[in-house]
Symmetry: C2
Subunit: 240 residues, 2 copies
């Protein structure tokens, strides 16, 4: 376990401003209050405010315009969940450029929960793809995707070559897939997750798990995703 | 803003055990490791472990059986989201007894976002119901429900008498309603929210907003809900 630690004031300010942006109190294109105004709001000096703003600029939430102040660059991106969940299309539909970055690709036996989700025998071999999803070069989510290795020979290589799940499945003969169920919870970011997501330890993450099946109803993917809650809002429109 | 503070070790342990229960590493009916084993796992003394367990027992996640150890009482309750979202039925379906507790009921003008969600003129009068949702006497969510006051005369009194949204809407002539959209994010609990939810400041909350409409498509409720992520998992099954 991690030792208790004191949160520096600039991090608290940065967290409060992130929450304001997530709540759309400040939305895309808005000018933030001046450093002097923020210093008054938080009861700190301008140096501390500048430190907080710098961290948000580095994370792509704010942009500094020389002599004109600091502007909000990004409101949380809407991310529709439903029968056809496609990272690539979802991010494109939000007007951003999608990209996946491979962290590592494992071969290992399924845990009980993974085997159950994929309707596999206990300890069946899996290919597990750990990676980062980016929109316009900024990380928006971490994911672990679990594939049945025996059903999908060559999947690990296909993932290494394409980095995209849809394309890799296609190379393994799965031309289409649909989401049969999604479970949604929330987590707080660990230090490692925060580091990958360019956010802070203890930040709010949306945690989802889901199963995708091929047109015959055979599970082809069990996925876990941790979305940075200040960058993504899941949306669900009820069908008529 | 809150001052930075040191998290006591027992709270860190309690948080780690909550996460284990949320991840279903320990599920309903499981016996936890002994105090001695937990003390070894976390590198602390048994007194500290006992303090952490006591807080989880008070919150209803664990139960102590005299001389037999500590058992997990509750796995996160599944909470389906879809076209017909009903707190009462959802909790009953999970085998638990639902209850709503009124915190306070306000009359106030709509904010821009609230007016937009309810398709009302700017600053239209609202009835706002702040409350706590409980399952088997344990708090599982905080909510703020916003109703158009002019469309629903008598709504505040109906809520005070029934404490349930479905029943109060019925008394105001809305015999049925459906959810047209749900947005889902995550937040970390403030001190006040943690207090109401019997959890810890900084704990993960699932944050949802949604709009309900009457059979004519007129918005009758804009709701915000903060679910304790260690007690509720939102589920979404794709329609065929």
């Amino acid at each position: 376990m991690t030792a208790p630690r004191k949160t520096p004031i600039w991090k608290e300010i940065s967290r409060a401003l992130r929450a304001d942006i997530a709540e759309k109190i400040y939305t895309e294109g808005d000018k933030l209050p001046t450093e002097a105004e923020l210093a008054a709001r938080f009861g700190v000096n301008r140096h501390t405010v500048r430190h907080a703003l710098k961290s948000l600029i580095e994370d792509g939430l704010l942009r500094s315009r020389r002599g004109a102040g600091v502007y909000v660059t990004a409101a949380p991106t809407d991310y529709p969940i439903g029968r056809r969940v496609r990272f690539h299309q979802n991010v494109l539909a939000g007007g951003q450029t999608p990209q996946k970055r491979i962290l590592h690709i494992d071969h290992r036996p399924a845990s009980d929960g993974e085997a159950q989700a994929l309707k596999l025998p206990l300890r069946a071999p899996l290919v597990v793809y750990h990676g980062i999803s980016l929109a316009d070069d900024h990380p928006i989510a971490l994911f672990s995707s679990h594939f049945p290795a025996e059903l999908l020979p060559g999947m690990a290589d296909a993932l290494r070559e394409t980095s995209g799940v849809t394309e890799a499945l296609k190379r393994c003969g799965v031309s289409d897939y649909t989401r049969i169920s999604t479970r949604i919870s929330a987590r707080i970011a660990t230090a490692t997750q925060a580091n990958h997501l360019h956010t802070q330890e203890g930040a709010a993450l949306i945690y989802t798990t889901g199963v995708n099946v091929d047109p015959d109803g055979t599970p082809v993917e069990f996925g876990q995703t941790w979305f940075a809650a200040d960058r993504v809002t899941l949306t669900f429109d009820s069908p008529d």
